[in-house]
Amino acid sequence: MSRRLGWFLAGGLLVALLLAGVVSSFASGSPDGLDATARQGCTFDAEGRITGGTCMAQKEQDHQLDDSPLAGYGIRGLGDGALSTGLSGVLGVLVTFGIGAGLFRLARRRPDPKSSPRPADAPTEAEV
Protein backbone atom coordinates (compact mmCIF):
# COMPACT_ATOMS: atom_id res chain seq x y z
CA MET A 1 0.00 0.00 0.00
CA SER A 2 1.39 3.37 -0.98
CA ARG A 3 2.02 6.02 1.64
CA ARG A 4 -0.49 8.38 -0.02
CA LEU A 5 -3.23 5.78 0.24
CA GLY A 6 -2.25 5.24 3.86
CA TRP A 7 -2.76 8.93 4.61
CA PHE A 8 -6.12 8.95 2.84
CA LEU A 9 -7.29 5.91 4.82
CA ALA A 10 -6.09 7.42 8.09
CA GLY A 11 -7.92 10.67 7.32
CA GLY A 12 -11.11 8.86 6.36
CA LEU A 13 -10.97 6.72 9.47
CA LEU A 14 -10.48 9.81 11.63
CA VAL A 15 -13.60 11.39 10.10
CA ALA A 16 -15.58 8.19 10.76
CA LEU A 17 -14.32 8.06 14.36
CA LEU A 18 -15.31 11.69 14.97
CA LEU A 19 -18.76 11.13 13.46
CA ALA A 20 -19.42 7.98 15.49
CA GLY A 21 -17.63 9.16 18.62
CA VAL A 22 -18.71 12.78 18.90
CA VAL A 23 -21.37 13.81 16.37
CA SER A 24 -23.47 10.73 17.23
CA SER A 25 -24.45 12.36 20.52
CA PHE A 26 -26.29 15.05 18.58
CA ALA A 27 -28.28 12.57 16.49
CA SER A 28 -32.07 12.63 16.62
CA GLY A 29 -33.59 10.39 19.27
CA SER A 30 -36.82 9.86 17.33
CA PRO A 31 -37.56 6.42 15.88
CA ASP A 32 -36.39 6.09 12.28
CA GLY A 33 -38.73 5.86 9.30
CA LEU A 34 -39.12 2.09 9.50
CA ASP A 35 -39.56 2.01 13.26
CA ALA A 36 -42.01 4.93 13.23
CA THR A 37 -44.09 3.21 10.54
CA ALA A 38 -44.01 -0.07 12.47
CA ARG A 39 -45.25 1.70 15.62
CA GLN A 40 -47.99 3.63 13.86
CA GLY A 41 -51.40 2.70 15.28
CA CYS A 42 -50.19 1.54 18.68
CA THR A 43 -49.93 3.45 21.93
CA PHE A 44 -46.87 3.19 24.12
CA ASP A 45 -46.05 3.74 27.77
CA ALA A 46 -43.02 5.63 28.98
CA GLU A 47 -40.86 2.50 28.78
CA GLY A 48 -41.74 2.01 25.11
CA ARG A 49 -43.99 -0.98 25.74
CA ILE A 50 -47.14 -1.31 23.61
CA THR A 51 -50.25 -0.51 25.63
CA GLY A 52 -52.89 -0.85 22.91
CA GLY A 53 -53.91 -0.40 19.30
CA THR A 54 -52.84 -2.25 16.17
CA CYS A 55 -49.44 -1.84 14.52
CA MET A 56 -46.75 -3.81 12.71
CA ALA A 57 -44.56 -3.86 15.80
CA GLN A 58 -47.23 -5.62 17.87
CA LYS A 59 -45.60 -9.02 17.71
CA GLU A 60 -42.07 -7.68 17.73
CA GLN A 61 -39.72 -9.79 19.83
CA ASP A 62 -36.64 -8.80 21.74
CA HIS A 63 -33.28 -9.17 20.09
CA GLN A 64 -31.52 -12.44 20.93
CA LEU A 65 -28.41 -10.47 21.89
CA ASP A 66 -30.07 -7.69 23.91
CA ASP A 67 -27.78 -8.52 26.83
CA SER A 68 -24.57 -8.03 24.88
CA PRO A 69 -22.24 -5.37 26.27
CA LEU A 70 -22.72 -2.98 23.32
CA ALA A 71 -26.44 -3.59 22.75
CA GLY A 72 -28.34 -0.52 21.64
CA TYR A 73 -25.22 1.52 20.77
CA GLY A 74 -24.00 2.04 24.30
CA ILE A 75 -21.55 0.53 26.72
CA ARG A 76 -23.28 -1.52 29.39
CA GLY A 77 -22.77 0.14 32.73
CA LEU A 78 -22.20 3.60 31.26
CA GLY A 79 -25.86 4.40 30.68
CA ASP A 80 -27.30 6.26 27.68
CA GLY A 81 -25.16 9.36 27.70
CA ALA A 82 -22.82 10.86 25.14
CA LEU A 83 -19.81 8.99 26.52
CA SER A 84 -21.52 5.61 26.27
CA THR A 85 -22.85 6.27 22.76
CA GLY A 86 -19.60 7.78 21.57
CA LEU A 87 -17.39 5.01 22.89
CA SER A 88 -19.62 2.32 21.43
CA GLY A 89 -19.51 4.19 18.13
CA VAL A 90 -15.72 4.35 18.16
CA LEU A 91 -15.56 0.62 18.89
CA GLY A 92 -18.06 -0.07 16.11
CA VAL A 93 -16.04 1.92 13.56
CA LEU A 94 -12.82 0.13 14.50
CA VAL A 95 -14.41 -3.32 14.49
CA THR A 96 -16.18 -2.67 11.17
CA PHE A 97 -12.98 -1.37 9.59
CA GLY A 98 -10.97 -4.29 10.96
CA ILE A 99 -13.42 -6.96 9.82
CA GLY A 100 -14.06 -5.24 6.49
CA ALA A 101 -10.44 -4.54 5.59
CA GLY A 102 -9.41 -8.02 6.78
CA LEU A 103 -12.04 -9.92 4.83
CA PHE A 104 -11.63 -7.82 1.70
CA ARG A 105 -7.88 -8.37 1.89
CA LEU A 106 -8.40 -12.11 2.07
CA ALA A 107 -10.75 -12.00 -0.91
CA ARG A 108 -8.62 -9.73 -3.06
CA ARG A 109 -6.92 -10.59 -6.29
CA ARG A 110 -3.28 -11.46 -5.63
CA PRO A 111 -0.82 -9.97 -8.03
CA ASP A 112 0.35 -12.71 -10.35
CA PRO A 113 4.02 -13.31 -9.44
CA LYS A 114 4.76 -14.55 -12.96
CA SER A 115 3.64 -11.42 -14.80
CA SER A 116 5.36 -8.08 -14.57
CA PRO A 117 3.90 -5.61 -12.07
CA ARG A 118 0.70 -4.22 -13.50
CA PRO A 119 0.16 -0.46 -13.54
CA ALA A 120 -2.40 0.28 -10.86
CA ASP A 121 -4.82 1.93 -13.25
CA ALA A 122 -4.78 -0.64 -16.02
CA PRO A 123 -8.29 -1.74 -16.90
CA THR A 124 -9.27 -5.25 -15.94
CA GLU A 125 -11.42 -7.71 -17.80
CA ALA A 126 -14.27 -6.84 -15.47
CA GLU A 127 -15.00 -3.42 -16.97
CA VAL A 128 -18.53 -2.32 -16.26
Binding site: A36, M56, G72, A120
Partner: protein
Amino acid sequence: MDTVAMHIANGIVNGPVSAVFAAFAAAALAFCVWRARADLDDRLAPMAGLVAAFIFAVQMLNFQVLPGVSGHLLGGTLAVILVGPWVGALCVSTVLIVQCLLFADGGLTAIGLNITNMALLGTAAGYLLVAALLRILPKTPAGLGVTAFAASVVSVVIASQGFVAEYWLGGTTQLSLPAIAGTMAGVHTLIGIGEGLIAATTVMTVARVRPDLVYALRRFRKVPVAEPVPVGGGAA
Protein backbone atom coordinates in the same frame (compact mmCIF):
# COMPACT_ATOMS: atom_id res chain seq x y z
CA MET B 1 -33.58 5.81 24.03
CA ASP B 2 -35.46 5.21 20.82
CA THR B 3 -32.65 5.21 18.30
CA VAL B 4 -31.46 1.78 19.38
CA ALA B 5 -33.56 0.06 16.72
CA MET B 6 -32.70 1.10 13.20
CA HIS B 7 -33.47 -2.04 11.26
CA ILE B 8 -36.19 -4.68 11.04
CA ALA B 9 -36.62 -6.31 14.44
CA ASN B 10 -37.49 -9.92 15.19
CA GLY B 11 -41.13 -10.93 14.94
CA ILE B 12 -42.39 -8.35 12.43
CA VAL B 13 -42.06 -10.83 9.56
CA ASN B 14 -42.72 -14.50 10.32
CA GLY B 15 -40.08 -17.21 10.67
CA PRO B 16 -40.50 -19.10 7.38
CA VAL B 17 -40.36 -15.94 5.24
CA SER B 18 -37.40 -14.65 7.26
CA ALA B 19 -35.62 -17.98 6.69
CA VAL B 20 -36.24 -17.85 2.94
CA PHE B 21 -34.76 -14.36 2.79
CA ALA B 22 -31.79 -15.45 4.92
CA ALA B 23 -31.06 -18.21 2.42
CA PHE B 24 -31.53 -15.80 -0.50
CA ALA B 25 -29.24 -13.21 1.11
CA ALA B 26 -26.55 -15.82 1.80
CA ALA B 27 -26.60 -17.02 -1.81
CA ALA B 28 -26.56 -13.45 -3.15
CA LEU B 29 -23.63 -12.51 -0.90
CA ALA B 30 -21.69 -15.56 -2.06
CA PHE B 31 -22.27 -14.40 -5.63
CA CYS B 32 -21.12 -10.89 -4.67
CA VAL B 33 -17.90 -12.28 -3.15
CA TRP B 34 -17.25 -14.17 -6.38
CA ARG B 35 -17.80 -11.07 -8.53
CA ALA B 36 -16.04 -8.75 -6.07
CA ARG B 37 -12.78 -10.66 -6.39
CA ALA B 38 -12.24 -9.23 -9.88
CA ASP B 39 -12.51 -5.69 -8.47
CA LEU B 40 -10.59 -6.15 -5.23
CA ASP B 41 -6.94 -5.23 -5.54
CA ASP B 42 -4.43 -3.90 -3.03
CA ARG B 43 -6.00 -0.47 -3.27
CA LEU B 44 -9.69 -1.30 -3.24
CA ALA B 45 -9.51 -3.77 -0.31
CA PRO B 46 -8.51 -1.23 2.39
CA MET B 47 -10.76 1.38 0.74
CA ALA B 48 -13.69 -1.03 1.11
CA GLY B 49 -12.90 -1.44 4.81
CA LEU B 50 -12.99 2.33 5.17
CA VAL B 51 -16.29 2.60 3.29
CA ALA B 52 -17.85 0.01 5.62
CA ALA B 53 -16.54 1.82 8.71
CA PHE B 54 -17.78 5.17 7.35
CA ILE B 55 -21.25 3.78 6.65
CA PHE B 56 -21.37 2.35 10.18
CA ALA B 57 -20.49 5.77 11.59
CA VAL B 58 -22.97 7.73 9.49
CA GLN B 59 -25.78 5.25 10.20
CA MET B 60 -25.52 6.36 13.85
CA LEU B 61 -26.39 9.91 12.84
CA ASN B 62 -30.17 9.93 12.78
CA PHE B 63 -31.53 13.18 11.37
CA GLN B 64 -35.04 14.49 11.92
CA VAL B 65 -37.29 14.21 8.86
CA LEU B 66 -40.73 14.78 10.45
CA PRO B 67 -41.86 15.58 13.98
CA GLY B 68 -41.15 12.39 15.92
CA VAL B 69 -39.60 10.62 12.94
CA SER B 70 -35.93 10.42 12.07
CA GLY B 71 -33.93 8.76 9.35
CA HIS B 72 -30.41 7.59 8.76
CA LEU B 73 -28.20 6.75 5.83
CA LEU B 74 -28.47 3.26 4.35
CA GLY B 75 -25.32 3.68 2.30
CA GLY B 76 -25.91 1.56 -0.79
CA THR B 77 -25.43 4.30 -3.38
CA LEU B 78 -22.44 5.78 -1.57
CA ALA B 79 -20.77 2.35 -1.50
CA VAL B 80 -21.49 1.70 -5.19
CA ILE B 81 -19.89 4.96 -6.27
CA LEU B 82 -16.78 4.50 -4.13
CA VAL B 83 -16.11 0.75 -4.39
CA GLY B 84 -18.48 -0.65 -7.04
CA PRO B 85 -21.64 -2.75 -6.83
CA TRP B 86 -20.26 -6.10 -5.68
CA VAL B 87 -17.85 -4.85 -3.06
CA GLY B 88 -20.43 -2.19 -2.12
CA ALA B 89 -23.09 -4.77 -1.32
CA LEU B 90 -20.54 -6.59 0.85
CA CYS B 91 -19.65 -3.34 2.66
CA VAL B 92 -23.27 -2.64 3.61
CA SER B 93 -23.72 -6.30 4.64
CA THR B 94 -20.64 -6.10 6.86
CA VAL B 95 -22.16 -3.09 8.63
CA LEU B 96 -25.52 -4.84 9.08
CA ILE B 97 -23.90 -8.00 10.46
CA VAL B 98 -21.72 -6.03 12.92
CA GLN B 99 -24.78 -4.03 14.03
CA CYS B 100 -26.84 -7.18 14.51
CA LEU B 101 -24.23 -9.26 16.35
CA LEU B 102 -22.47 -6.57 18.37
CA PHE B 103 -25.08 -3.85 18.87
CA ALA B 104 -28.26 -5.98 18.93
CA ASP B 105 -29.76 -3.81 16.18
CA GLY B 106 -31.76 -5.53 13.47
CA GLY B 107 -33.12 -8.90 14.59
CA LEU B 108 -30.90 -11.96 14.28
CA THR B 109 -33.88 -13.73 12.69
CA ALA B 110 -34.44 -10.71 10.44
CA ILE B 111 -30.85 -10.42 9.20
CA GLY B 112 -31.73 -11.82 5.77
CA LEU B 113 -34.56 -9.31 5.41
CA ASN B 114 -32.34 -6.39 6.34
CA ILE B 115 -29.49 -7.51 4.06
CA THR B 116 -31.91 -8.03 1.17
CA ASN B 117 -33.43 -4.56 1.49
CA MET B 118 -30.41 -2.41 2.26
CA ALA B 119 -27.37 -4.31 1.00
CA LEU B 120 -28.85 -5.99 -2.08
CA LEU B 121 -31.95 -4.08 -3.24
CA GLY B 122 -30.73 -0.62 -2.25
CA THR B 123 -27.29 -1.21 -3.68
CA ALA B 124 -28.58 -2.73 -6.93
CA ALA B 125 -30.95 0.19 -7.49
CA GLY B 126 -28.20 2.65 -6.67
CA TYR B 127 -25.82 0.91 -9.07
CA LEU B 128 -28.24 0.88 -12.00
CA LEU B 129 -29.01 4.57 -11.54
CA VAL B 130 -25.40 5.61 -11.06
CA ALA B 131 -24.33 3.69 -14.17
CA ALA B 132 -27.15 5.26 -16.19
CA LEU B 133 -26.70 8.80 -14.90
CA LEU B 134 -22.94 8.81 -15.43
CA ARG B 135 -23.57 8.17 -19.12
CA ILE B 136 -25.25 11.55 -19.47
CA LEU B 137 -23.80 13.66 -16.67
CA PRO B 138 -20.29 15.11 -16.74
CA LYS B 139 -17.69 13.03 -14.91
CA THR B 140 -16.76 15.90 -12.63
CA PRO B 141 -17.15 16.17 -8.85
CA ALA B 142 -20.37 18.15 -9.44
CA GLY B 143 -21.74 15.58 -11.87
CA LEU B 144 -20.87 12.84 -9.42
CA GLY B 145 -22.62 14.75 -6.64
CA VAL B 146 -25.84 15.09 -8.64
CA THR B 147 -25.62 11.40 -9.51
CA ALA B 148 -25.11 10.42 -5.87
CA PHE B 149 -28.05 12.55 -4.74
CA ALA B 150 -30.56 11.32 -7.31
CA ALA B 151 -29.53 7.67 -7.04
CA SER B 152 -29.67 7.80 -3.23
CA VAL B 153 -33.24 9.09 -3.14
CA VAL B 154 -34.50 6.36 -5.48
CA SER B 155 -32.39 3.65 -3.84
CA VAL B 156 -33.70 4.40 -0.35
CA VAL B 157 -37.34 4.39 -1.49
CA ILE B 158 -36.83 1.07 -3.30
CA ALA B 159 -35.16 -0.44 -0.21
CA SER B 160 -38.17 0.67 1.86
CA GLN B 161 -40.49 -1.08 -0.58
CA GLY B 162 -38.42 -4.23 -0.12
CA PHE B 163 -39.63 -4.23 3.46
CA VAL B 164 -43.22 -3.72 2.27
CA ALA B 165 -42.88 -6.79 0.03
CA GLU B 166 -41.47 -8.85 2.90
CA TYR B 167 -44.29 -7.72 5.17
CA TRP B 168 -46.78 -8.62 2.45
CA LEU B 169 -45.29 -12.12 2.25
CA GLY B 170 -44.97 -12.81 5.93
CA GLY B 171 -46.16 -9.97 8.16
CA THR B 172 -47.21 -11.15 11.63
CA THR B 173 -49.99 -8.55 11.74
CA GLN B 174 -52.76 -7.81 9.27
CA LEU B 175 -52.58 -4.16 8.35
CA SER B 176 -53.48 -2.33 5.16
CA LEU B 177 -50.64 -2.91 2.72
CA PRO B 178 -51.28 0.16 0.52
CA ALA B 179 -51.22 2.35 3.61
CA ILE B 180 -47.90 0.87 4.76
CA ALA B 181 -46.43 1.15 1.27
CA GLY B 182 -47.49 4.79 1.08
CA THR B 183 -46.20 5.72 4.52
CA MET B 184 -42.89 3.94 3.93
CA ALA B 185 -42.42 5.54 0.50
CA GLY B 186 -43.29 9.00 1.79
CA VAL B 187 -41.04 9.00 4.83
CA HIS B 188 -38.22 7.31 2.91
CA THR B 189 -38.35 9.95 0.20
CA LEU B 190 -37.47 12.45 2.92
CA ILE B 191 -34.80 10.13 4.35
CA GLY B 192 -33.49 9.62 0.81
CA ILE B 193 -33.04 13.36 0.41
CA GLY B 194 -30.98 13.42 3.60
CA GLU B 195 -29.00 10.39 2.47
CA GLY B 196 -28.52 12.00 -0.93
CA LEU B 197 -27.01 15.12 0.61
CA ILE B 198 -24.61 13.06 2.75
CA ALA B 199 -23.65 10.76 -0.12
CA ALA B 200 -23.13 13.68 -2.52
CA THR B 201 -20.95 15.57 -0.04
CA THR B 202 -18.88 12.45 0.63
CA VAL B 203 -18.27 11.39 -2.97
CA MET B 204 -17.56 14.97 -4.08
CA THR B 205 -14.96 15.28 -1.34
CA VAL B 206 -13.27 12.02 -2.32
CA ALA B 207 -13.49 12.93 -6.02
CA ARG B 208 -11.65 16.20 -5.33
CA VAL B 209 -8.99 14.68 -3.06
CA ARG B 210 -8.38 11.30 -4.72
CA PRO B 211 -10.42 10.89 -7.93
CA ASP B 212 -8.46 7.72 -8.64
CA LEU B 213 -10.09 6.10 -5.59
CA VAL B 214 -13.64 6.65 -6.89
CA TYR B 215 -14.75 3.40 -8.51
CA ALA B 216 -17.49 5.12 -10.50
CA LEU B 217 -14.96 7.43 -12.13
CA ARG B 218 -12.49 4.64 -12.90
CA ARG B 219 -14.83 1.95 -14.13
CA PHE B 220 -18.05 3.54 -15.31
CA ARG B 221 -16.37 5.19 -18.24
CA LYS B 222 -13.84 4.33 -20.86
CA VAL B 223 -11.57 7.38 -20.67
CA PRO B 224 -8.56 7.10 -18.31
CA VAL B 225 -9.06 9.28 -15.28
CA ALA B 226 -5.69 10.97 -15.14
CA GLU B 227 -5.97 12.88 -18.41
CA PRO B 228 -7.89 16.10 -18.77
CA VAL B 229 -10.56 14.87 -21.12
CA PRO B 230 -10.67 16.55 -24.52
CA VAL B 231 -14.20 16.42 -25.87
CA GLY B 232 -14.79 14.94 -29.29
CA GLY B 233 -12.82 11.72 -28.95
CA GLY B 234 -14.53 8.40 -29.02
CA ALA B 235 -16.83 9.09 -26.10
CA ALA B 236 -20.41 9.64 -27.11
